[in-house]
Every structure is written in C-alpha cells, then in structure tokens.
Symmetry: C2
Subunit: 480 residues, 2 copies
C-alpha cells in the first residue's frame, strides 16, 4: 500500500472510529458472543490477493466490534478502567505512521529523548522523588518482573554474571500480601525464586492492607531460619479492594533486612496526579521502584506502563548488553532504554503519552479523576444506606466492593451464615447484569466469599451512568 492509497483508506478509518466511539453507548457492554463464534467467521487461510479496504472495514464493524467487551462504554464498571483517550490514539497513530525503530539512542534519538522528557513530566506530576528515573514498559506485570530481577541481582551481588540464581544457597524470599495482583506471584515464579519462597504477610481484617507487625514477625522467623529476605512488594491499591499497604511503615523493615521495596500502583498511580491523594505513597523516598499504568485510569491507550527506579545504574547493570552492531560514538552520553527492560526493540510509545497530556491538558485529566472519586463516594453512600446491601471494604479510590445480602444469609454483624446460598445469589445477579449488556461489573472472591467490584473510571462515565448502574444492581438483586 502506497501513501495515496493509505490516505484514502485512512480517512475512511478515522471516520469509522469517530462514528464508532460516538455510538458506543448504544452497544452492549459485554461481548455477546460465545467461544469460537468470531473465529468461525474468518477464513482458514491468508488471502493470496490483496482485498479491498471496504471489505476489511466492513469486517471491523460486523465481526470485531460485536466481539469485544466495550471497555470504552460509559457503563463499563468491570475489572479496572482501561481508557483509550482519543488524544492518545492520535499519538499512537503518529508512532505507527513514522515507523521508527527503537533499539538504541542512535536508531531514533527522539524516541529516547521524548520518552525521557515525558516520564519526567509524569514523575513531577506524581511527586515521585526528584532523583528517580523512569522508563515505559508494556505492562505492570513486566515492570514487576523487572523490579524483582533487579532485587534478585542486588541480593546476590549480580549472580547473573556468574553461576546464576541456581548457584545461590540460602533461599531468597519475597514478601507481599494475598491481595497482591496475580502478576506478583507470577513474577516471583518466573524470576526463579519459587512460589514457596513467596511469603504473604497478614492483612488488617477491615482495610485489607498489609499489617506491618505481621510482616515484621515473618521476617524475623525467616531470618532466624537462615532465609534471605530479598524484596517486598507493596500494594498501593490492590486489584480486589484498592487496599493501600502502609509503605511508610514497611520501608524501615525493608531497610533492616536490606530488602528491595517495589511499589505496585498499577491502577492507583493515576490518582497521584491529585495532590490530595499523595498520601497513598507516603514513605516512597525509601522505596526502590514503583510501577503504574497510564493505560488504565489515566487513559493512555494500551500498552503503556511506567516503571520508576531510584538507582538506574543498578537496573542498567542487570539488563545491559553491548553487541558491536549496536555501538555508536555517543554511547556514554545518552540513555539506552534497551538496558532498562527485557525487549531490545521498542515502539515509540512516548508519543501517545505526549499527545495525551498535551491535547487533553493536565487540569482536565485531574478534574476527570476527581469526578470518578466523587462518583465512587456517592455510590458507596447509596449502598451503605440501602437495606440488605453492604460495602465490604473501605472506598479508598474509585472502586466500590459491595454485596446484596438477603435476610438470613448474613448476620447483622456481617458474619456469613450460608456461604453457598450467598455465593449463588451474588453470582446470579452479577451475571444477569453482565449478560444484559446494560453494564458490566466484576465478581471477585473476598475472604473466600463472592463479592462484586464496581470499578468506576471509564472516561465517558458521568453521574447518570452511576445512578443507572445502582438502579440496575438493585433490580438484578431483587429479581435473582
């Protein structure tokens, strides 16, 4: 396809996207297709001859749109906000159109330097320590793995350069809580620590935040047994309930044992743009790394995660390679992001952040985040004052964890009397909401019983959408 053909098709696709975004409120939120239904509509082999653009565009509307859950829908309250702001979509289009190759500074100086500038903009906006430096990764999962690899290498004085982790003797251990995201346990496994060496500190039974005294206890026990505490992952805004581990109280323990402190703020990081929410990371000066995802609540289109580190020289030593075909005369003077993560080749992801911040402006983004926090407080008030309903966790951010509790299934004090019946009821009404396509919520286990997470923060969600959701939930629970 040449530039003129691209121009014609591109204009059609831009119009298609604008029309699609405008009609999203009329679409069902949850995809209404069954397993294999999309695949069955596609031919078994790639076409030998080029197809006309009109046919591909028609397939977008006929096959792809009905086949995705509409996370840009104003009544999407599922997993977590996954906003793809149109400003960032333009930035990403510029990225693809320019088609730069990010392997070294030399291959695309602007790719490196815009990234340096934009992650510094966001460092300042989120009030992270001035000396910290950042890098764009694909997801917080990868960022956490990178952080734990850095922790492993600090604890072993760069075992990777010698016999590797397999040559180490007393097992290294990693600490977090059972409420940590699944990617933490995965990173522990992939980094070679072994799942048995992942320790869960107890949480406060009301806030679900890590109990620092519980952490102190297991650290003392493990150290007494000759284990080597290497890292603690502090959850700032857990996936289940947005619980906030007390970073300021964990840091002194980490220092005592020489542990790496990684802060997982994948969802909550966006809130750090609000000065009134900076309490979330009180104590961050004593941490080693922090990751959060602009591709969630902030709304920079997937994939865009930020990893900040206190000691970039250490990260670079863990990750660097220097083959002759990538060397250049400026190597000592520039940032080589290939040495800040796993992949060598990188996409010019900084452009989508750059476009997003410039075309939307920070003040409007802050206003949207505040709007969502206010929506969550409003919903929590409605639920708290409605008979038969219960809020199950503090509403620290934009997520409300709730349950409808028909009489007899739960005691007044909140003790579950008939878990099976309660679970069946919860899953039934949540499923009916989701199947209806009118809104989407996410069931999740909390203390072994099913609850429902309402995660507010889609870019287009306004108060009437939250009000409509609350009516829907009440109706669904009554009908179940």
């Amino acid at each position: 396809m040449g530039p003129e053909e691209f121009r014609v098709a591109g204009h059609k696709l831009i119009d298609w996207i604008a029309d699609y975004r405008a009609r999203i409120p009329q679409l069902p939120v949850q995809a209404q297709v069954g397993p294999g239904e999309v695949a069955a509509k596609l031919p078994g082999r790639a076409p030998e001859e080029a197809e006309p653009f009109a046919r591909v565009l028609a397939d977008l509307g006929d096959i792809i749109v009905p086949g995705v859950t509409q996370v840009q829908h104003p009544r999407y309250f599922g997993w977590f906000p996954s906003n793809a702001s149109l400003a960032s979509v333009l930035g990403d289009l510029a990225t693809s159109g320019i088609g730069a190759l990010g392997i070294t500074w030399q291959s695309a100086p602007a790719l490196t330097e815009v990234e340096e500038v934009v992650v510094e903009w966001l460092r300042e906006l989120t009030a992270l320590p001035e000396s910290w430096r950042g890098v764009i990764q694909d997801t917080a999962s990868s960022a956490c793995l990178v952080a734990l690899l850095a922790a492993r290498e600090r604890a072993t004085n760069y075992s990777e350069a010698r016999g590797g982790l397999q040559a180490e003797r007393a097992p290294l251990t990693v600490y977090t809580t059972e409420h940590a995201h699944s990617s933490i346990a995965k990173a522990v496994a992939l980094a070679g620590f072994g799942r048995e060496n992942l320790r869960f500190a107890d949480v406060d039974p009301v806030t679900y935040a890590m109990d620092p005294q519980a952490l102190a206890r297991i650290l003392a026990e493990d150290a007494a047994q000759g284990l080597r505490p290497a890292a603690v992952v502090v959850n700032v805004g857990t996936t289940g309930t947005t619980a906030v581990d007390p970073l300021a109280q964990i840091v002194p323990l980490a220092r005592q044992y020489g542990m790496w402190v990684h802060v997982d703020a994948a969802m909550a990081g966006s809130a750090l743009l609000l000065p009134e929410m900076r309490w979330l990371i009180d104590g961050v000066d004593g941490a080693d790394s922090l990751a959060w995802n602009p591709h969630k609540w902030l709304g920079t289109v997937l994939d865009c995660a930020l990893l900040y580190v206190a000691d970039p020289a250490h990260l670079i030593r863990v990750m660097s390679t220097n083959p002759s075909y990538l060397r250049s005369a400026v190597d000592g003077e520039v940032t080589q992001y290939k040495d800040w993560g796993i992949p060598l080749g990188r996409r010019f992801r900084a452009l989508k952040l750059w476009f997003h911040l410039r075309l939307d402006g920070v003040e409007a983004i802050r206003a949207r985040l505040r709007r969502d926090l206010e929506h969550a407080r409003w919903l929590a008030e409605q639920v708290s004052s409605a008979p038969g309903w219960r809020i199950l966790a503090p509403v620290a951010l934009q997520t409300v964890v709730l349950r409808h509790e028909p009489s007899g299934l739960v005691s007044d004090a909140g003790a579950v009397l008939d878990a099976d019946a309660l679970n069946a009821h919860t899953l039934a009404w949540a499923d009916s909401v989701n199947r209806s396509g009118a809104a989407l919520v996410t069931p999740a286990l909390l203390d072994g019983t099913w609850s429902v997470r309402v995660s507010i923060g889609a870019e287009r969600t306004e108060r009437p959408d939250v009000e409509a959701l609350w009516r829907l939930l009440q109706q669904a629970a009554a009908d179940a």
Copy 2:
C-alpha cells in the same frame, strides 16, 4: 477529546503521514541530531491547559521527524529491515481506536480469536508443524526469555512451583554460538541460569554456523562433569552474518540430552513464506519453539513477534495464574493468552497482522521478499568482482557482509595484516556514508575485525537504490 474533535484532527494526521511517507526519500537516512538536542526543544513540564492540535502536529514535523533515523527510507540498509507497512499502520490504528482490553478471552473474545486465526495463517504460510500453536509477543527478546523459562521448568519438573531455580543443585546449562543475538545471553542471565552456564559451541570458520560436532563435544564434557544441559538456542539467520545453524543435526543431540530446542529466526522468519527458503528450518519437527518478527522484514509495524511452541500445555503451566476476578464460565473452552507470556494485559496486535496480510496480499509480500534476496545476490556479485573488496560471509539471505581492503592491509588469502589500520579505514568510510545521510549501513565486528553489514529489505528499496549504495560505498572507501 471527543469523537468530532478526533475526526478533524485525525484527518489532518492521516494527511500528514501520507505526505511524510511520500517525502521520506528526500530526508537524510540517519538522524542528524546530537545528544540532548531533541530534549532541549521540549518544555520541562506537562501543559496544564490543552494545546491546539496544530501545535502538536507542527512539532511532529519540526522535532520528531529530524530526530529519528528513517528506517522506512529506500536507502536504509542498517541493522535489519524494520518495515512499517501502511496496511499494518491502518490495522494498528483500528486497534487503538477500538481500545479493547486483552486480559482474558472474556474481556475481548475477538482479540483472542483473531490472534489465533492469524498466527495459524502464518504457521501455515511458514510451513511450521501442524500441531504447533502460536502467540504474538512484543519482541523476539521476550519470546526467547519465555522459551528459556519453559526450558528451565521442563528441566526442573516445575521448580517454580516449589523452591525455584535456587533450590536446584547441578547447574543447568544452555548452548548456542557466539554469533547468537545479544538477547540470548540476556535471557540466560534473566532466567537465572547465570552467564557462566551459557556455553558457546564453535562455528564453522567459513559459514559462521554452529558446528554440531563441536556442540557434541562440549555437551559430552559438561555431562561428564555433572552439569545438566537444559536448552540449545539454534540461530537461523544470525544478526551478524545471517548464518544458519544446522537444526537437523542439532535436534538429535538435543534429544539425547533432553534439551529444549529454541529456534531464533527473528529476522529470517519472513523468508519462510518462500517455499524455496524452507531449508532454513529443516528438522524443525524436532524443535520445541521458534520465534520470528513480522515487525522486521515482513513489515508489520513494531511491535509484533511470533512465538510458536510444540507443547502449549507446558507453556501454559509455566505461565498461568487464575485469580478470581479473571474467572469466567467459559474458561475451559477458550484460549487465555495471558498464560502464554509475561504480561497480563495485551493490546489487540492481531489486527495489524490481519490488515497487513489482507490489504497487501501474500503473493505481493512474497514477491517483495524475493526481490530483496535478488538485490542481495546482485550486490554480492558486484562486490566479489571489484578489486580491493571482499565478501566476508555467505549471502544466505538479504544481508551482505563486506569490507574494502586497501593493499597491504590484508593478504590475498584474506589474512588481516594490519588490523588497526584496516579497522580505522572501515569505520571511517562507513561513518562517512552514514553521516552523509545518503544511506545507512551498520559496522559490526566479525572475527574481531570491523566489517560492514548491508542489510537489504526496506519496503521501498528498489534496484536503483542498491546500485546507488554500491556507488556510494566505493566513493566513500576511495575518499577515506
């Protein structure tokens, strides 16, 4: 930004990209900026107020374009082809515009199923074994790390679920050659094997391909010392010279020692679309995994790597997590790509491959690949027959490794007599070509001496571009 504002800005950006692509031949290939020059043009803080689109668009032309090396230029012969076909740019725009969230099948069934279908299209097009299954990753670096993690877990019977690699005793070892890409040594280090447990088998001195007898020797030595050979990385098209390790001869050795066989065909994988090039992976039936990058020569815009595995159930066991908030009723019936790699959240990358194959058509892509192979053969012939020039490695694919050898610096038989003078000469003329902006080539060390790689395969490179390059090289060498 709302849909109507997006529509207006989007049309402008599409026109900008079409115009930009059309004028690339007039731009210098290598970016002509020094360290810090791009960053100095950007403000130190993010804007509080939204900026007009015109200002952002102007910065694209004024700051970004001069700040990137033009890898879409017809006279780009650097590192490796990094084509961003405009058909795939449209597919990627659709991805961003739809803004789907890929965390489970349920969150975007079409994201999963189009990926399944398209990677199957490409499996069939590249004649990989029918039973193999594939997944899109960001880069071959990540794909290789995933393959080596799978190898580690097979060799240790899933140590990750117990005490991890640190609980294993006799060291696991990994094998490849010194010509393997730098990402292989990095993956070995990150997976915890330790760089000392990466073994390089000698290569054939003419072809730079792994010598299977040399591999057999070090395997026997290592096994006799109680080491545990866990994996061999077979290079199909090395970065330096596109050397092709003899997979069919390596597989029986791997079987004898129970090693995982990973095939790194990052660059060369595109050639597998040509039936006459399938000899590259003779013996692949006995391998365990293969990775290649459509974002290189094939031309699907970065980032798009394919990882195929013979035993997906094993990979899933190594990578899977199953938190309650990601469960759904269809879990047993569908593919969950979160369990096929490191990140949880995934972008709808399959659309760019789908658009690319459909809008360009496979036959036209094959014709372009054949054109590039023919260009490489033509250039190799010119170089071979020019006095004072030497081809330094077999031209198996689209890369020509060459050197200009002024009299007295190299013997007639090819022995380097004055390495310092030869290196200075080579780097001087290659640098003058690159600094001129007229073309880009990549100097690289081969047998300890600098050579120049001419990697042919930019989408717009036609015969006159290769002819012009050859004139440029001769002029630069004469002037140096």
